[in-house]
């Protein structure tokens, strides 16, 4: 019970830190600017301005949520260990796991707020795009919501990855760079694997490369699994099995990451 109160308090403090962080504030500002530009951006489309508007706003929310996660991880997790500000908390009568979970909870809170806020902004801008259009399709709001959840899933997974790397590394920039790497690999493994497996390559693929891609596919989080944007853009029906699989995959992966991070963190010397 007490642990929960600690996690909550830590999460709220982290949230405050995030909202007061200059870098994150400017990211949010940039996000608002981008969402405002949806109207202009979508107007260049010939046949599907509404689809482009949904596409553009969801992509903005996604990039924003991920960047916030990355920089929050850098400024509020890794840097906190580097500057020893976290030692004060670890010197309190709480276990390091509670500390870690508190930080993660803060990350979740901030991401949730950001995705919700920008999702709402995007949702408000879409009817504006629709105003001038004669036979635009209706917006699949349910799918739009699911796509936002997928974005949340991606950013939380990356947050857990940052946490793990923070537990491993001593410098603050390293976890940041490694998380960027995981993001890049994680969102492309599926595409690369499918491409290689489709046998469209000119030369037969060397087995070592195939092996490498397969390992990367199973080791790194498969972020494209959480990409429901296309369903929201074109109003397609989301296969429930796929959504369920993504949910379970995300949860299991996240729990594994957190467990690993907690184990590594427990052993670390906070000198």
């Amino acid at each position: 019970m007490h642990s929960f109160a600690c996690i909550r308090a830590l999460g709220l403090a982290t949230l405050k830190g995030g909202l007061r962080d200059r870098l994150i504030q400017s990211l949010l500002l940039a996000g608002l600017f981008f969402l405002l530009s949806t109207l202009v951006f979508s107007s260049f489309s010939m046949r599907q301005p509404l689809e482009v508007a949904i596409n553009y706003s969801l992509a903005t929310v996604q990039i924003l949520a991920i960047l916030v996660t990355l920089f929050l991880g850098l400024n509020l997790l890794s840097r906190e260990i580097e500057t020893r500000a976290g030692y004060l908390l670890m010197g309190q009568p709480i276990s390091r796991t509670v500390y870690l979970l508190g930080k993660f909870y803060g990350l979740c809170l901030l991401n949730f707020l950001i995705v919700a806020f920008f999702g709402l902004c995007a949702a408000l801008s879409l009817p504006l795009v629709k105003i001038g259009l004669t036979n635009a399709p209706s917006i699949a709001w349910g799918n739009f919501f699911v796509a936002q959840l997928g974005i949340l899933g991606i950013s939380l997974l990356l947050g857990a990855v940052t946490l793990l790397f923070t537990a491993l590394a001593t410098s603050a920039v390293l976890p940041f760079l490694m998380t960027v790497g995981v993001w890049f690999i994680g969102q492309s493994t599926e595409a690369v694997k499918n491409y290689l497996e489709a046998g469209l390559t000119a030369q037969p693929m060397p087995p070592a490369l195939k092996w490498l891609v397969t390992v990367a596919y199973y080791l790194f989080p498969n972020l494209s699994l959480f990409d429901f944007k296309v369903y929201a853009i074109y109003g397609l029906t989301i296969p429930p099995l796929l959504a369920g699989y993504a949910l379970i995959y995300g949860l299991v992966y996240m729990v594994i990451l957190l467990l690993l991070a907690a184990t590594l963190f427990q052993k670390r010397d906070m000198t």
Partner: protein, 289 residues
Amino acid sequence: MKRLLLGFGATGMLAWLIASYASLGGRAVAPLRFPSYPPVWALQAMSLGNKELASTLIFYNAQFYFGEKYAWRRETPEYQRLFVALDKATDLDPRNMDCYYFAQGLFSDIKPAIPVLNRLLQKGMRYRPNDWYLPFFLSANYYFQLKDPVTAAHYLQRAAALTPNSSLFASLSARMLYQGNQTDAAISYLEAFIKETNNPGVRQMLFKRLEALVAIQYLERAVAAFAKEHGHPPQSLTELIRFGIIKKIPADPYGGTFELDATGRVVTTSKLVEAWKNHDKRNQNQQAQ
């Protein structure tokens, strides 16, 4: 916070200045080339999980390039690169209707491009089974370019089944199926297409084609009137002027001249199409000079 806003403003201004300088000053000097994009899997990896947005951006780039190259600079666009880019964009997001629409606008005049264009449109049909435009485009391509009215009619029926407002197709399909006048059919198809187009470059291109078709239609009607009056077709187009049926022969917007062939049909010395194969070589020659 204030400083931040100021910074944002300043960067924005700077970007705007650079962009406007590039578009004014740079235009005359630098040759405008269309990029050749990396393979689709690399594009997808670089899109950072936003392949639909990447698809849209490629389409935008193609659209802006075409507008500037064709309408502004009056140069031959790099059609093949454009096609490859649109093909990649529709691999990234096979539902991106803009790409299919743009491709049809660009390539439906270019006979050698028809097979690949049709393959592209068929890809679109797989992913947009409820979109009547795609079978409509295919039907037009089969009819006008491949001279295959049966397949054209098949696609037109599919298109008609998908739209509640099929009056558009009524005249068109009648003309196609009953081997009516090709020029009339082509004009009504083009008019239907132009009505749905808002891209200035594409519109300009379509209007040029429409202008040529209208000229042919005009001459064909004059030839028919001459035949009715004299009981035999004219020897040449100048005969039409001599007998006072028309005042002058309209110009071919593609630069050729209209004449009558051995069978008595109106033809032009130009190909009535944009260049497809040799544009890259020509551009290179231009640069080399």
